[in-house]
Amino acid sequence: MTGACKTGHHPKHHPSDALLVGYGAGSLGEGLSLALALHLASCPECRAALADIDAVGGALLEALPPEPLERLTLADTLACLDAARPERRPPSRHFVPPGESRTPSLLRPYVGSLAAAPWQRLAPGVRRVELLPRTPRGGSAQLLRIAPGTALPHHGHGGLELTVVLSGSFTDELGRYVAGDVAEADDEVRHQPIADGHEECLCLIATDAPLRFTGLMGRLMQPFIGL
C-alpha cells in the first residue's frame, strides 16, 4: 500500500503552485491538506517548494505590525514555562506494529490500519472508506479501492477534487497516474478514470466542495442515496 515509497520513483503529476501555497498558508480544508501531505511524503521537489512557501509565511509574519501585548503576558508565560514539558526529537525510525506497516502514517489518525478499515462496497469493483466526513467548510476525504480494469463513470466536477494514488495506477484522458501522483480536477475537467494495472488501485479522493454531492464521489453515490 505504500507503493509511493519505492526507491528511485518520484511522482510525475504534481499539485499546482496555488494548491501548495494554500497548504503552506493553511487556507485549504483538512481533506485537501491530507491529499497534499500524501503527495509531499513522496515528492522531494514539492517539499522543497513548500519549504520556500513556509519561508514566505515567516517573512510575512515578521513584516506584520506588532500588536502590543500587556506587560503581564510575558510574566504569565514565563510562569508557565516550568510546567511545560519539552518535546524531544523523536527517534528517526519508530517501531511500527506488525500489520500496520502497509498503512501510510499520515492515514493512521483517520483509519488506524487499512486492512481493518470498514470498507463498503460502492459499486462493482469499487470499495470505499470515509476518512473525513464533511467538515464545516464542506471538505471531505475518502479512500477508494478500485479493482483492476474497472472504469469509473464519466463525470465532471462541481468543485475542486484531488485524487492521490497510494498504490496501483489509473489512467484517464489526461494521463497515467501512479503511486504519489496527484490529479487535480475542477469544473473544466470531465474524465473517465480506469484502474489500468494488474493490481488494485488504492487512492485518496479529497474535495473542498460546497455542501452537495459532486464529482466522482457524487456519481458513485447517486444510485445508493437516490440523488
Binding site: 493553511g26 500588536e67 514555562l81
Partner: protein
C-alpha cells in the same frame, strides 16, 4: 551571546558555517540547549506581538488572539529542540507553529503534515539544492523577492496567507477568473524560487 551552548566550534575566530547568523535563531538554539529564559524573553518580545497580529488578521477576537500568541510562544519553548537552523529561519518555524494552532483553534481542523517518521518510510531524499546558501543570505534574498512582486501578485499572496479563504473565493472577491489568481501565484512563486536558487 549568553546561554549559547558551545556547538563544538573549535576556534573562536572561525565561524562554524552551520551556526545560524540571525539573532532569533541563536535565541531559539539557546532555549533548545540550555533552556535560556533571557533568550526566550527576546523571542517573546519579537514574535508574540506579531503572532497576535497574525491571529487578529485571521479573525480571532482580541482576547483569543492574545491567548493564541501566548500558546504559540509556549509551544516554541516546548518544541525548541525540534528547530533545525539548517532547514528554516526562526520566523519560518514560528510561523508554522502559529498556523497549526490557528487551524486547530479557529477552524477545529487538523493540518496533516509529513513527519520525519513519514519521510523515513521513503528512502530516497534529495538534499536541498539551497542547503549551501547561508541562512542570512537566504532571508535577504527572500525579502528582496517579496518586495519585487507586482502589486497584483503580492495581493494574492497576502490574501492566501491572511484571509483563510479558498482560492475560488479569493477569485470571486477580486472579481477575477480563478485561472488568473492561480497564474499570479505561480508567477509569484517562480520569482521567489528563482531568488532562492531553487528553480529546477
Amino acid at each position: 551571546m549568553r546561554g549559547l551552548a558551545p556547538l563544538s566550534s573549535p576556534s573562536m575566530t572561525e565561524r562554524d558555517p552551520l551556526e545560524p547568523t540571525d539573532e532569533m535563531s541563536r535565541a531559539l538554539l539557546a532555549v533548545a540547549t540550555v533552556r535560556d529564559r533571557a533568550a526566550f524573553a527576546r523571542l517573546f518580545a519579537h514574535f508574540a506581538p506579531r503572532v497576535k497580529s497574525y491571529m487578529l488578521k485571521l479573525g480571532a477576537p482580541p482576547q483569543r488572539a492574545k491567548d493564541l500568541a501566548q500558546d504559540t510562544m509556549l509551544a516554541v519553548w516546548r518544541k525548541a529542540e525540534l528547530f533545525d537552523p539548517a532547514k528554516a529561519e526562526a520566523a519560518t518555524w514560528v510561523f508554522t507553529i502559529a498556523r497549526n494552532l490557528r487551524i486547530d483553534a479557529l477552524r477545529r481542523e487538523r493540518h496533516p503534515e509529513v513527519s520525519d517518521d513519514a519521510l523515513a518510510e521513503h528512502e530516497d531524499d534529495r538534499p536541498r539544492a539551497d542547503a549551501l546558501l547561508d541562512g542570512a543570505q537566504r532571508a535577504k534574498r527572500l525579502r528582496g523577492a517579496l518586495s519585487d512582486l507586482t502589486p497584483e501578485q503580492a495581493q494574492v499572496v497576502h490574501l492566501s496567507f491572511f484571509a483563510d479563504l479558498a482560492h475560488p473565493v479569493i477569485a470571486e472577491r477580486l472579481n477575477l477568473p480563478l485561472g488568473t489568481v492561480k497564474s499570479r501565484l505561480r508567477l509569484a512563486m517562480g520569482k521567489i524560487r528563482k531568488a532562492l536558487g531553487d528553480e529546477p
